[in-house]
Structures are given as structure tokens and as C-alpha cells.
């Protein structure tokens, strides 16, 4: 028995390290310790061993078993490792670029719009939206723009033929014409008509002017307007908002100033200049950036708000203009060409 055991062990010691695959291993394992294995067969002989020899034989068998098991374990571990190694394949070259396309990018006008909206959300403005096809009432009449005002002229504003109907853009009167909105102030009117003050909205969106396209003009462009309606809103509050917006956007060294101006829907009205000499490519001390003012009582009358109770301010600016300033872009047409070399710079 002893010699049989040591012969078996020797055979196993020679065989297991040479096993190359898991099926080989499983077959070999079965040949030793499976139900019909050689080692199992030796163990089965225990029954026929005389009783007094049993402890000694038992000890031999246990010792042999103790030597066999590590051989099996080692072989298994070796095979498992080889299997994992096989899964890996050759080492990667981390310096190769990813063959996947990307990353995607937001358009710079979106980035600027979202940044402005987020600055304004912090001080309580929610983002409002409205149609781009508008009617004369929402775009002009309600905003105190008289019927013969040059801004309403077909020279400057795109109109749609009288015969055209828009199923989901409401008209105030049947006779009024559809047009492409010239400012997002029409959203202010729709918002005020829909709800009650206090109102604090920002309306970004696409607007249209009948104008030559060049480096600084485009047939459509984007605006962003704020409207605040509440009790006791003052000019000082308006100035505070503008100071806050541009300090948030461009840093606290930024200054703003108001120049008295005229708009039909605000009184008093101002043009807003900002001074941000720390920006590159800014070679003027004051840059005109938008217009603002206190909501004209006529506008409140038009939407049915009591102008002796409610007051408010409005501010509007061009998103392209701001983006050009922020990123140092000198031609508005780049925004609409979508050259990937341009777009990818805003990743």
C-alpha cells in the first residue's frame, strides 16, 4: 500500500503541472480522486485492511491525501490564472487616442444663455417661453408702440401674408397681422396676461429683424429679457440687478452704467454700458450691452394691471453680442455656420 501511494503521488506530481486546459485538469482530477479514480480505489481498500493495521494505513492515506490536494489546488490556480491572462490580450498603448467620436458640445449661444439664466434664477427669475411667430398686438400694441412707429414698418419687421393662419398662435383681434417677433418682450405680455403679479421672468429666445447680414447683424438673433413686476420696484433695484448680473458674469471688477434713453415700453429708459477692461479684446472703456427701464404704466394698462399698485422693471440684451464679448468672437456669422472647428472650442 505504501509503495502504491508513493507511486501514485509521484505520478501526480509529474502530471498536474503539465495540464494545459481545464478539461484536461478535470479529467486528470477524476482519474485520481473521482469515483473511479486510482486514489479513491486505494481508499476503498481500507475496508479490506485488517483492523490493527488500519490506523497506520489510515495515516498513510491521509498523508498522501494531504500531499495530493495541494497539487490539485496549485494546478487549478495555475490554470485559472492562465485563463484570465488569456482574456486580457496584449497590453494597451495608453497613448493611442480613443477611436470613438466625441465629445459632444453645446453651442456657445446656449452656453451663454444658460449661464445668464442660471445667474438670474439665483435671484428669483424663472425662464419663460413664447412663440416666435407673433401678432402685432403682443409684439407692438401692448408694448406701447404706436401704429405708425417705424419699428413696425415692413422695412424692418418680417410679416406673414394676411391669408396665413397659425393654429396655435393666438391673436388678440382678427384683423391683426402675424409677424416674426422683433424682441422677446412679447413673452412678457403673454406672461402678464396669463398670470398675476408678482412676476419675475427671464425670456431668452430667437428674434427677427429685417436687416442686412454682416459681421454684426443677422436676420435672426437671440435676445434675453428680464421682467420684474411687484409693488414698490425702483430704479435703484434695476441698477442693483444689472450690477449683480454683470459682476456674476464677468467678475466683481465689472462696472455698469445707465445712459438715459428712450423705449416705448419703459419710462424712464436707459441703455446699459459695461466696463470690463480685464476682458481681452475690449479696447473701449464702456461697451453698450443692452437696454432697460421701468415698465411704462401704459404697458400695465394694456395687460390689465393697476399701474398705481404695481411697478416693475425690464431689461433686455442680445445674446450674440454678449457671447462675442465673452469669447472674443468678431463675426456673428460664425454662430450660424456651425464649423466644427468653431463648435469644438466650446467643449
Amino acid at each position: 500500500m505504501e509503495s502504491q501511494l508513493s507511486a501514485l503521488l509521484a505520478k501526480a506530481q509529474a502530471e498536474f503541472p503539465t495540464l494545459a486546459t481545464r478539461p484536461d485538469f478535470e479529467a486528470a482530477k477524476a482519474r485520481y480522486v473521482g469515483p473511479n479514480g486510482e486514489f479513491t480505489a486505494l481508499m476503498k481498500q481500507m475496508g479490506s485492511v485488517p483492523k490493527e493495521q488500519r490506523p497506520a494505513i489510515g495515516k498513510l492515506i491521509n498523508e498522501a491525501k494531504g500531499k495530493l490536494q495541494p497539487l490539485l489546488d496549485a494546478a487549478l490556480a495555475r490554470l485559472e490564472q492562465a485563463e484570465l491572462a488569456a482574456q486580457l490580450g496584449p497590453a494597451v498603448d495608453p497613448t493611442l487616442p480613443s477611436p470613438d467620436i466625441g465629445p459632444g458640445t453645446f453651442h456657445p449661444l446656449t452656453l451663454v444663455r444658460e449661464e445668464m439664466c442660471s445667474i438670474l434664477r439665483k435671484v428669483g427669475f424663472v425662464v419663460a417661453d413664447g412663440p416666435e411667430v407673433e401678432t402685432e398686438y403682443y409684439c407692438f400694441d401692448a408694448l406701447n408702440t404706436p401704429a405708425d412707429h417705424p419699428a413696425r414698418d415692413a422695412q424692418d419687421t418680417f410679416y406673414l401674408p394676411d391669408t396665413v393662419r397659425f393654429g396655435n398662435v393666438s391673436k388678440k383681434t382678427a384683423e391683426e397681422k402675424y409677424l416674426l417677433r422683433t424682441h422677446t418682450s412679447s413673452v412678457q405680455i403673454r406672461t402678464m396676461l396669463k398670470g398675476q403679479p408678482p412676476i419675475r421672468i427671464v425670456s431668452p429666445g430667437r428674434v427677427y429683424r429685417r436687416d442686412t447680414s454682416d459681421a454684426t447683424h443677422s436676420a435672426n438673433f437671440h435676445q434675453l429679457e428680464c421682467l420684474y413686476v411687484d409693488k414698490n420696484v425702483t430704479v435703484r433695484d434695476l441698477k442693483a440687478l444689472l450690477d449683480y448680473i454683470f459682476a456674476s458674469l464677468l467678475g466683481k471688477d465689472t462696472k455698469t452704467r445707465f445712459r438715459p434713453h428712450y423705449f416705448g415700453y419703459t419710462e424712464p429708459s436707459f441703455e446699459v454700458d459695461l466696463s470690463a477692461k480685464h476682458l481681452p479684446k475690449v479696447n473701449k472703456e464702456w461697451i453698450e450691452i443692452g437696454g432697460c427701464g421701468m415698465v411704462d404704466p401704459t404697458v400695465f394698462d394694456a395687460v390689465g394691471y393697476d399701474s398705481t399698485v404695481w411697478s416693475g422693471y425690464a431689461f433686455g440684451m442680445g445674446i450674440e453680442r454678449l457671447a462675442m464679448l465673452l469669447y472674443g468672437i468678431d463675426d456673428i456669422r460664425y454662430f450660424y455656420q456651425n464649423d466644427a472647428r468653431f463648435l469644438k472650442q466650446f467643449a
Partner: protein, 816 residues
């Protein structure tokens, strides 16, 4: 409008530096477009000198060495000079050492090619009074030696080009601007003194019998004065200088005076040669349709019956308020003139100006609003100047039609109201000072019962823009200075509302597509007709056309975002820039049953990746587009996958048949298209390769903020039993139809004993081993019980039953 600083100084003492004045103009609300200096600048140490000798420079052919006498300013100097246009005895400007010429050119004693030069003889250009430099400025008037040069050069002026907002027509005049500056600098404002106070002499019917206004609604006031014995001649230098400074060309004294007073008072005037008024009558009437007049610019104009003209008994003389005719103007032979000062309704002038495509300084002022209460005063000012420059005598009574309705406008205001609107303190006294300076007189100053102050403010006739207390708040603030608005912290209550659902939708889809490696594009809304007709339909093109496009290739509203995206792709391809994935979020306009719908939309395109890469990735196909489009719809709360999918129909021609699909219908609020874009159409746009795309559009009002709160569905923790089944079906049968049919049969077979969890397609095969026109669809059926592990037997029984049912139905064959 250009304003001359010298001119303004006639009415207000302006001694501040130009930077301060420019700042003042800006902060009273008149935008400064530019500042132009004219005439000679202040020139120290430049005097009149006489060339005594001129000798050739010993070391330079083109230079001369001269002795020049500057008289009491320094005696005889030696000066080297390079000019050629002078001779001994000429008097010329001489800059002595220390003089600073324009361009920071400081004259020093210097050696020129070895010869000492003690100054410089100057050209007009070097003195900053002319553009050309054809040699020295020869002073042919021979002014006294040593005269400081500024005394004999035309005085310098500074011209401020200002942009006047439409509410301030009063500032389209020097008096208006001066009044504002006087208020800003707190200086006195002085009107010009007017000597003529109305003629008293007898009528002169041989010069002018009368004036008749036939259209008083468009001409509420017409006045005519007669001056006889006038000498038409060039205007005096001061008048010419002022007109030139503001960019006008002097003509003769009469025309120049009418222009001068227009720019002084803002009141357009017109002078007729009395001899040219046929019948000696002036008629203000509407033109006859087709009537013609040659205006002063030499062009023949055809008038309509809406045009107001000033006519004599035979012909129109002037297009009222716009421009005079060639036939009636003042010329060198004129001796008797009729001076018109009138008021025309702004709408009438605007219509005429637009209709004729003719605008003038006069029409510009009438369109914006001229003060009818200053008309006669302006006429008298002009008469003074006509007599002063051309002699003559004002004769006869004034011929006046229409009148000066008394002007009275008062605004009741409390200083507390002003402070409340501004949000900071301004003293009553400071407000009063401003009002007075702007001639807004406080006619009543009361103390109310509650102790507060109340003012009644009278508005002058030229300030038609002031009507309400809030308008006066602006006046106070303008002159207080907007730069003095105190800083403050924004008062911000918490948000109680969320952004508009559309805004949230736009943000979600953009974020999603950027996450899928798309570049966001922004393209024009306006597209050419041909494109719209081709990609949508002729009907759509007819409905989406603007009535007044600016240029022909931007004439229609876009019916889809695809066109702009393809154009952007084409641009990149033509520039050799590799780009594959583009998207846009924006409005589109879709024609449905004869009406248009404005939709919120998002669309993407995927072009073949043209970048050369060291390792190939699988390219996108229809199913890539389908998945992405489903995600876009999901962002609006719409489960695209549960909708019946059909071919793209109707107004959407841009999609490739059999390789694209459509879901939804705008009639019900939304629509989606996805798949391959029409190969031929894409190619016709000059784009290479296959383009897949997707578009989701929704009516803005259908995007809602409400989202249903999701509920959790319990799931079994016991293992599933899987069975695979392949069915042979007609090749054109949609897979999902088969899947649904199979699921229905399987569900019936399972009954309530356990559950059919899923029927999923995992293989589609067509070809060898199958009959022609057939395909094989392989499905995996997943069975599971909620409460136990399923036994093979029970699953097998059900699976057999399913196969039996399919065999019995006979539509599909089981593939063995």
C-alpha cells in the same frame, strides 16, 4: 444730428473741456456718435512772418535757407524750408520754437543738414486747417507781422454728432441741446434776441395776394412773410462756418438763413422767389394723382392725391415739409421773397417721404414732431437774419392760416412720488432746480393735508413727450445723473415657480444629445422657397412664405430643422472638416390642413464618420436613429416605442422610403421621424454619404410640467425558465407584429399558473435554407413564477401548447 460747440455757446456758457461736455450730452440722454474738430486748433507760438530772403541750402538741392521776419513776435529768424510755392515777400505762418502743431509736433531749434533752423514755415495741413499740403499757406491778405495765427485763421470748432431719441424732437436743434446742457451745467440759457415783432405796413398783393389751406387736417398752421429788395449773395463767414461745421454746404444768404434757423429752432422754413409764385397765391392742397414736380435734388417726382403740396395757382412748388421744387427757389436774381413757416402733420410728412423715397432734414423733423408754438418765432428769427445778411424790407401783414391753439399742459406731481420711483433720496430743491432749468415751471406749490408737498408743473410746448408724473421722474433723474444711483443688493425672494416646460424640454434634449457626442448647431429659421418646396411640399411653401422677405434665399419659415443641419454638414465637408453628429433645438413651422403650427422641435443627423481612425467602430444605422429619437420623445414624456410606426408621409419628402419611419401626428400634438434621409436629395445638396437622422416636434402647449409619479412593480426573486422559438414568416411581415401575436398566444397558454415575463426577438434570418420570400424570426420566451422555481415539466407543457396553437393558426411556421 451734428451740433457745433461754438454755436451752442451763443445760448449757454460752456467752458468745460470737451470731454465733460461730451459726458454731459451722454448723460442727459443724447447719445454721442462722434466728436469732430474743425477749423484751426489753438496754436501757440505761431505768427505771421514775411520771407525776406531765400537761398539754396548749401548741402541739399531741395531745401532753401530763408530769413523770415516775424516782427514783434521775435524779429528776423533763419529758417530752413523744403517747400517750393513761395517767393520773397510772401507772408506765411511761422511756427517758432516751442510751438506745438497738431499731431504733437513740437517745433525746436534744430540743425537741418548743417544749417541752423529757428522754426518752421507752415502749410495749411501742418496747422490742421486743411487736408492738402501743396506747399506753404500763403497769407494773401498780408496780415500784420507778428499777428498770432489764430487771429487770422478761421476759428476752430468742435462738432458733436449726437443721436436724438424719437421722443426728443426738441433736441434736433441747437437751442434744444443748449437748454439741456445749461440745465446740466447749471448755467443760464439765453434765447437769441428777436428784433422783428410783426409787420405793420400795407398789404402787397402784387407780391402775395393770399394763402389758402385746403387741407387743414394735414397743415394746421401756415404762415408767409414777404421781404422785398433783398440782395441774394454769399452768406457772411460766420454763417458759412457754422453751416459747414455741421456738414451743410452754404448756398446763398437766404437759403443759408432758412437752414440756419432750422438747425437753431428745429423749425423747417422755406423761401420762395415771390416772382415765381404764379397768380401771387399760395395754395396748400393735395396733389392731383400723377402731378409732377422736379425737386431741388433734380429728380422728377410723380405725386399722388395723398401728397400735400404747396402750390401756386398753376403748379406745385414744394412737396410740403419734404423738399422744395426747382421752379420756385431763390436764385441770384431774386429780389423779393416769401418766407414760409408752417406746421405739417407728422403722419402726412412720413407717408409722403416714404412714398417718394425722399427724406430731408425738414421731413426728418416733421416726422418726429415740430413744436407748432415756436413756428412764428422761428420765422421772425429768420426774417431778422435775412435782413441782416441781405438787406431788404419786411413788408405787408403776415399771411397766416390756421392758428396757434393755446398750449397748456400741467402735471401734478409730489416729490415723494419721484423718490419712491427712484428708490433713493433727492432733495425737493434739487428737483425744482432741474424743472426750472428745463422751463418746466412749477405753477402751484402746495402743502397737502398730510404735510407732504405737491407741485403742479407746466410743460412747455416743445416737450410733448411729457404727459405723466413718471415722465417727470425721468427728467429729475437725467439731470441728477444716472451715475449717482446708489448701489444696492438685489432683493430676491425664493423661487416658487419652475422654468417653462418647453425650456426644460429643450434643456433635457440638448443635454442628452451632447451626451451622445453630438455638436449643437444653431441655424437660420428662414430658408429658400425651393428647399421648402422640395423637402416639404408646394402647399407648405405657399403657407410658410413671408410677405416681405429681405433676400430671396431667406423667404420661408423652416418646416424642419434638417435643412439647416444638412447645410452645416455640407459647409464642414466643403471645408474638409470631419464632423459626424450634429443637432439643433428650435422652432419649426409645419403646415397641416391649410394652417400652420409652430412647434418646438429637436433634430439630429449622423453622417458617416470621415475621420481616419486607427480602429474602426461600428457605424450608425436606422436603429441608432430610432433609439435616439425615442429618447427625445421620452424627454417630452412620450413613449415612442409604444406608438404604431409607419412610413413617413405627407409633407415630409426628405426621408428615404423603406429606410425611415414616422410616429405620432401633429394633429394630436406631436410627431417623430427617423431613419435614413433621402439619398438623392442629400446628394443634390452636395453632401457625401448616407445620412441618418431623427426629428421630434411637439406643439409647445402640449409640453407639460406634470409628470406621472412612477410606481414600483414587484419582481420575482425566483429563476426564469427560457425557451427559444423560431418562426418562419412572410419576408414583409413586421417583426413586432409577429412578436405581439406570439406573445398573445403564449400568454393564453400560460394562463394564471405562472407568468410570461417577456417575448424578445433575438435573431432575424433570411436566405439559404429558407424558401424564397420568407424570413425566420427567433424569439426568446421568458417564463417565471412569483412564488417558486418553475419545473421543467410545466414549462415544457406550456411551450408545447404554444407550438400547437401556432401550428393551428397556420399564419406562421415553426422553424425546426
Amino acid at each position: 444730428m451734428k451740433v457745433s460747440l461754438n454755436w451752442l455757446k451763443d445760448y449757454v456758457q460752456l467752458d468745460a473741456p470737451i470731454e465733460e461736455i461730451s459726458r454731459a450730452v451722454t448723460f442727459v440722454g443724447l447719445e454721442v456718435e462722434g466728436i469732430i474738430r474743425t477749423g484751426a486748433p489753438k496754436l501757440e507760438n505761431v505768427f505771421v512772418g514775411e520771407v525776406l530772403t531765400r537761398d539754396k541750402h548749401p548741402n541739399a538741392d531741395k531745401l532753401s535757407v530763408c530769413t523770415v521776419d516775424v516782427g514783434p513776435a521775435g524779429g528776423v529768424k533763419t529758417i530752413v524750408c523744403g517747400a517750393q510755392n513761395y517767393k520773397v515777400g510772401d507772408r506765411v505762418p511761422v511756427a517758432l520754437p516751442g510751438a506745438a502743431l497738431p499731431g504733437d509736433f513740437v517745433i525746436k531749434q534744430a540743425k537741418v543738414r548743417g544749417q541752423l533752423s529757428d522754426g518752421m514755415m507752415c502749410s495749411a495741413k501742418e496747422l490742421g486747417v486743411a487736408e492738402d499740403a501743396a506747399g506753404l499757406l500763403i497769407l494773401t491778405d498780408r496780415p500784420a507781422l507778428g499777428t498770432p495765427i489764430n487771429e487770422i485763421l478761421p476759428p476752430g470748432d468742435t462738432v458733436i454728432d449726437i443721436e436724438v431719441t424719437p421722443n426728443r424732437p426738441d433736441c434736433l436743434s441747437h437751442l434744444g441741446v443748449a437748454r439741456e446742457l445749461a440745465a446740466w451745467f447749471k448755467k443760464d440759457f439765453v434765447y437769441p434776441e428777436i428784433k422783428f415783432q410783426g409787420a405793420v405796413s400795407a398789404a402787397r398783393p402784387e407780391l402775395l395776394q393770399g394763402v389758402r389751406v385746403e387741407a387743414p387736417e394735414d397743415c394746421p398752421l401756415y404762415s408767409a412773410h414777404i421781404v422785398t429788395g433783398v440782395k441774394v449773395c454769399p452768406s457772411p463767414a460766420w454763417l458759412q462756418d457754422r453751416l459747414r461745421a455741421i456738414g451743410l454746404r452754404p448756398i446763398n444768404n437766404i437759403v443759408d438763413v432758412t437752414n440756419y434757423v432750422m438747425f437753431e429752432y428745429g423749425q423747417p422754413l422755406h423761401a420762395f422767389d415771390a416772382k415765381k409764385i404764379a397768380g401771387n397765391r399760395i395754395v396748400v392742397r393735395r396733389a392731383n394723382d400723377g402731378e409732377k414736380i422736379v425737386t431741388l435734388d433734380g429728380k422728377e417726382r410723380t405725386l399722388s392725391s395723398r401728397t400735400l403740396v404747396i402750390a401756386d395757382t398753376q403748379k406745385p412748388l414744394v412737396v410740403a415739409g419734404v423738399m422744395g421744387g426747382e421752379n420756385s427757389g431763390v436764385d441770384d436774381t431774386t429780389t423779393d421773397i416769401v418766407l414760409e413757416a408752417a406746421h405739417f402733420r407728422r403722419q402726412s410728412v412720413r407717408w409722403t417721404s416714404k412714398h417718394l423715397g425722399l427724406s430731408s432734414d425738414s421731413s426728418y423733423r416733421y416726422e418726429r414732431g415740430v413744436d407748432p408754438h415756436s413756428t412764428i418765432e422761428a420765422a421772425r428769427r429768420a426774417l431778422d437774419l435775412i435782413v441782416a445778411t441781405g438787406g431788404g424790407q419786411i413788408v405787408g401783414p403776415i399771411h397766416q392760416e390756421g392758428g396757434d391753439k393755446p398750449w397748456l399742459r400741467e402735471i401734478v406731481l409730489t416729490p415723494d412720488y419721484v423718490r419712491a420711483k427712484l428708490g433713493f433720496d433727492i432733495a425737493d430743491a434739487e428737483m425744482k432746480t432741474t424743472f426750472e432749468a428745463l422751463e418746466l415751471s412749477i405753477t402751484r406749490d402746495e402743502k397737502l393735508a398730510d404735510g407732504s408737498v405737491q407741485w403742479t408743473v407746466a410743460v412747455p410746448s416743445w416737450r410733448d413727450d411729457l404727459d405723466r408724473p413718471i415722465d417727470l421722474v425721468e427728467e429729475v433723474l437725467r439731470h441728477y445723473g444716472t451715475e449717482r444711483i446708489p448701489a444696492a443688493v438685489v432683493q430676491a425672494p425664493g423661487l416658487t415657480a419652475n422654468d417653462d416646460p418647453i425650456v426644460q424640454f429643450n434643456r433635457r434634449v440638448a443635454t442628452k444629445l451632447v451626451g451622445h457626442d453630438f455638436h449643437e448647431c444653431i441655424t437660420y429659421t428662414l430658408r429658400p422657397e425651393k428647399e421648402v418646396a422640395t423637402w416639404a411640399s408646394q402647399t407648405a411653401a405657399a403657407e410658410l412664405r413671408l410677405s416681405n422677405p429681405f433676400i430671396e434665399d431667406q423667404s420661408h419659415l423652416r418646416p424642419t430643422l434638417m435643412l439647416g443641419l444638412l447645410e452645416s454638414l455640407r459647409l464642414n465637408q466643403s471645408r474638409g472638416v470631419a464632423v459626424s453628429r450634429l443637432f439643433e433645438v428650435g422652432r419649426i413651422f409645419v403646415e397641416r390642413n391649410g394652417q400652420n403650427l409652430e412647434c418646438a422641435a429637436v433634430a439630429f443627423i449622423i453622417a458617416e464618420d470621415q475621420e481616419r481612425r486607427w480602429k474602426q467602430r461600428e457605424s450608425a444605422d436606422f436603429y441608432t436613429a430610432k433609439k435616439l429619437t425615442a429618447e427625445l420623445a421620452a424627454a417630452a414624456g412620450i413613449d415612442f416605442t409604444r406608438q404604431p410606426l409607419g412610413p413617413v408621409m405627407g409633407n415630409e419628402m426628405g426621408w428615404q422610403a423603406d429606410h425611415s419611419c414616422s410616429a405620432g401626428d401633429l394633429q394630436h400634438g406631436w410627431m417623430a421621424h427617423c431613419g435614413l434621409l433621402n439619398l438623392a436629395m442629400v446628394k443634390s445638396m452636395g453632401i457625401e454619404g448616407k445620412i441618418y437622422g431623427g426629428l421630434f416636434a411637439i406643439l409647445p402647449e402640449k409640453v407639460t410640467a406634470e409628470s406621472t409619479r412612477l410606481r414600483y412593480t414587484p419582481f420575482s426573486l425566483f429563476p426564469a425558465a427560457l425557451r427559444d422559438l423560431a418562426l418562419v414568416v412572410e419576408a414583409h411581415t413586421p417583426a413586432d407584429e409577429v412578436r405581439k401575436q406570439l406573445a398573445k398566444i403564449a400568454r393564453a397558454a400560460v394562463g394564471n399558473v405562472f407568468a410570461l415575463e417577456n417575448v424578445q426577438i433575438f435573431d432575424v434570418y433570411q436566405g439559404k435554407g429558407l424558401p424564397e420570400g420568407k424570413k425566420s424570426l427567433a424569439f426568446s420566451l421568458v417564463f417565471r413564477a412569483a412564488d417558486r422555481t418553475l419545473k421543467d415539466d410545466e414549462v415544457n407543457a406550456v411551450f408545447l401548447k404554444i407550438q400547437d396553437e401556432i401550428a393551428k393558426a397556420g399564419t406562421y411556421q415553426i422553424r425546426k
